[in-house]
Symmetry: C2
């Protein structure tokens, strides 16, 4: 029996399993409430070990991760979230604060040993450091969200927070700048909104 193109769906052209396509991409949803089921340290470690590998510019890896797991940590974080994000942040067993290290260039000799002198080009370029840290940190945040899902957990990324306040409260005088906060856990009651539409293919994809 030969399969014809009429009988094929887009997923036939993918190599990962249908179950993993759903878990990571097509069936996964942003959770807005979480159950009491705890997230273990081993799960968090497995996520970080998985998502540390995909690429960044010159292997700079500027993303930093703060996992807030304790009640004390949550009490410090929640007032710095936008009001509409506080209840779901409180319900998540773990909250990941994702930050971009604008002093990432100091790690270049360790991470990109064939061109350690690249560090120097960033020393007097605070604006370039901030731009590259934020851009590459956001790439890594994308990897991180899918990595949370790879552990069978729901992610709830949020952009509504007092970034300067979080930086000061948790990162002191280091150059870590909060870029995204992600609730992590098993979904709770009524965890999803209705699925929202996506653009038509021709509205965002072109060919040349």
């Amino acid at each position: 029996m030969t399969s014809t193109s009429q009988s094929q769906s887009p997923t036939d052209f993918l190599v990962i399993t249908p179950a993993d396509q759903e878990l990571l991409f097509t069936a996964a949803r942003t959770a807005n409430s979480f159950s009491d089921e705890p997230v273990s340290d081993e799960q968090l470690y497995a996520i970080t070990e998985l998502v540390k590998w995909p690429p960044t510019m010159a292997n700079t890896n500027p993303l930093r991760i703060l996992f807030v797991r304790t009640q004390e940590g949550k009490d410090r974080l929640i007032p710095l979230m936008s009001e509409g994000n506080r209840a779901k942040t409180a319900s998540a067993p773990v909250v990941a604060v994702l930050a971009a290290d604008t002093d990432f260039h100091d790690k270049i000799p360790e991470l990109f040993p064939m061109r350690p002198e690249m560090r120097e080009s960033f020393v007097d370029d605070a604006e370039g450091r901030e731009r590259q840290a934020t851009f590459n940190g956001a790439l890594q945040a994308g990897y991180f969200i899918l990595g949370v899902r790879a552990a069978g957990l729901a992610a709830g990324p949020m952009l509504g927070f007092d970034a300067a306040g979080i930086d000061k409260e948790f990162f002191g005088d280091r150059a870590w700048k909060t870029i995204l906060v992600v609730n992590i856990g098993k979904p709770g009651a009524n965890p999803w909104f209705d699925r929202l539409p996506r653009l038509a293919h021709g509205d965002y994809v072109e060919y040349a």
Copy 2:
């Protein structure tokens, strides 16, 4: 027989298959040369249908994708790449130009129908539009790189190019700003550099 924590590895705490962990995250590498094996339109469509689902701020989905497949398209693109990126770009059967649409707010009534008025808040905020388009476009670029791998293809993301030149050459007077260029194909001869190190866990992960 009970398994003890000593016998467990991080991957035991993940739900996706070991083969898919390797394909997407741990064994995948950035390719620097490509074979002649073509990439089909069906593969490209499958990738875009897969990666359109993960989350963006208020479902704004600012990423735009230009797939350069023809020799004519490559001839227009290659001179706008940094010199060190030209040979590998020429060898890739498909090159994806990823752009952030800084007029993404015009799609808010379609994509976030419960709050169409959010569009208005961006009309006079060109700086905020650029920041959110770039950040959320970078999140989506992270999803895209893993989506290319999910189709069994190698991705070669590059940040060295004349962004304004590409925008003018391919996007005319639209507000699409190139943020990343990604070579796509099967790896060619000597496709990988040596694997580079990653930061020690304690150098980028903290707990509170």
